[in-house]
Symmetry: C2
Subunit: 303 residues, 2 copies
């Protein structure tokens, strides 16, 4: 087990960021992540008054995976996301979030975490569904702050990035250069106020490098579904990316024309909201495995 | 049981549309609906080349509910949506749908319907999930074609409008003037190509009129959730409507400030895509009943 501590975090994904850890392909890893506020919010008197894009959403990493080359796929099987605190915070930030213009004063709500639930507002026992808000790799180009999602991953704020799934990311640079953080003990789809119950976590899982085909954007395989993910400034563009990738998968997996795959996707795949509050919007497209049985099984596992 | 046949359909919801049927409040009804193409598409050689807003999405009605007055809530408990054909159609229409600019030729796909599933593309057995695409009442003002969703309902294309739920609509005009149609045997959230498996249906359920509070927009109560629905030209505006209504519900049901209800909604409610292809976009916000136990139980039932 390779232990990756939170002693080094990034606030930007860049093509040439310097790796702080190196692990072999196929490694089992344990990654420690502070919360997305860097652990600075401890009580309801600690207020977060403005989003500082260069110092928020601390992402532990970068981790270089030996052997990963551009054009490969990085696979991260998430075995567990353990909430590593007995409390988490939810924030209202002036000008930020779906109703940001109505928020004139910062507000912090602390939820106690006990026995599988978060006690929200001191009254509501909400079952935990731990997830990673931010997970990504070095991009092909550009400098992406960890608040923004795009084709390299980043701040996808997608509730399906949870234990029991495989997250697939495109390898754009040698070593892939993975980083992650911004975990939530639980968050509703949309993340309407721009936070869930923000917590530090310890993540365990296995990293693998797949060779023989590439992907353009992040994907997820759950117990029951394949998920494509699109992020864009405009909602319909994000939908077109996520559904366009899904139509291509359905065509490939079933030897269908693009047109017939599009027909099938309209009937059997669901577009779902990931988040509506980040600088780019994120939408995912989900299809039961009945319609895409296997995708990456025959690819070479790099060792 | 009051039987409402498909002998009269509307293509526009208007404030002063003339009722074709009258039923008492509390009535059990059976409504017959042709498919959204008026039954014109029977084989894969029948093509639909352009959406004619004045002659598509046939909605059976209007039905005047005796005693319903502006400010009341019309409740329709849907007991069953029976698919009334052994086949349904899915259409690619040039220039229409999420990838409409890529559709240069119309295409029709017919799915056989047997034993609880639709056989899509002659190969995929897709379990039926019958739903109504269009359900609405006379609006407060304006002339709304049945392709467009708004506060009066209309073409919500929301997959939760199915058997087992209550649909709540604002009563804007005397008698409410309900109409419905545009059913799908099954449709993915998003309705990306602008159709699901389009079918005629027979709907049974109970109409009730609730008095003592009003709603601005359609809502749904399912076995497990409360759902608010927003439609707007811009996605984030639709999200603000649906989530804004949800925040108000959470505040009302739990005696919370708006700010704390907003915090709670960010953690426990999900924004979900209804459709991304109609003239206005539709988004819904869903919350488990754990957080909104009852809303309308104490309202007067008009008799």
């Amino acid at each position: 087990m390779h232990v990756i501590t939170a002693e080094h975090v990034i606030y930007h994904f860049t093509p040439n960021m310097e790796p702080k850890w190196r692990v072999p392909a196929g490694a089992d890893i344990e990654i420690h992540c502070v919360d997305g506020l860097g652990g600075t919010i401890r009580t309801e008197n600690d207020l977060y008054v403005a989003v500082e894009y260069d110092h928020v959403n601390d992402a532990t990493g970068p981790i270089s995976v030996e052997g990963a080359e551009p054009g490969d796929i990085l696979s991260f099987r998430i075995d567990r996301i353990r909430v590593a605190s007995d409390q988490g915070c939810t924030l209202l930030i002036p000008g930020f979030g779906l109703h940001g213009e109505q928020i004139t004063e910062a507000r912090t709500r602390i939820s106690k975490i006990t026995d599988g639930s978060a006690l929200v507002l001191g009254r509501f026992e909400v079952p935990l569904r731990p997830m990673l808000g931010t997970i990504g790799v070095a991009p092909r180009e550009g400098r992406w702050d960890t608040v923004t999602p795009h084709d390299h991953g980043g701040n996808l704020d997608t509730s399906d990035v949870r234990a029991g799934v495989h997250v697939f990311l495109p390898v754009n640079q040698p070593g892939a250069l993975l980083a992650m953080g911004d975990a939530k003990a639980v968050m509703g789809d949309g993340e309407v106020c721009s936070t869930g119950v923000e917590v530090p976590v310890v993540v365990t899982g296995r990293l693998e490098v797949l060779r023989g085909r590439s992907i353009e954007r992040p994907m997820i395989e759950t117990e029951t579904e394949w998920i494509t993910i699109g992020s864009a400034k405009e909602y319909l563009d994000a939908c077109r990316l996520a559904n366009g990738d899904m139509v291509a998968l359905l065509a490939e997996a079933n030897s269908l024309s693009w047109e017939d795959a599009y027909v099938l996707s309209s009937v059997v795949s669901d577009l779902r909201v990931s988040q509506v509050v980040d600088p780019l919007l994120t939408v995912r497209c989900c299809v039961p495995k009945d319609y895409v049985k296997s995708l990456f099984d025959r690819l070479e596992r790099v060792r």
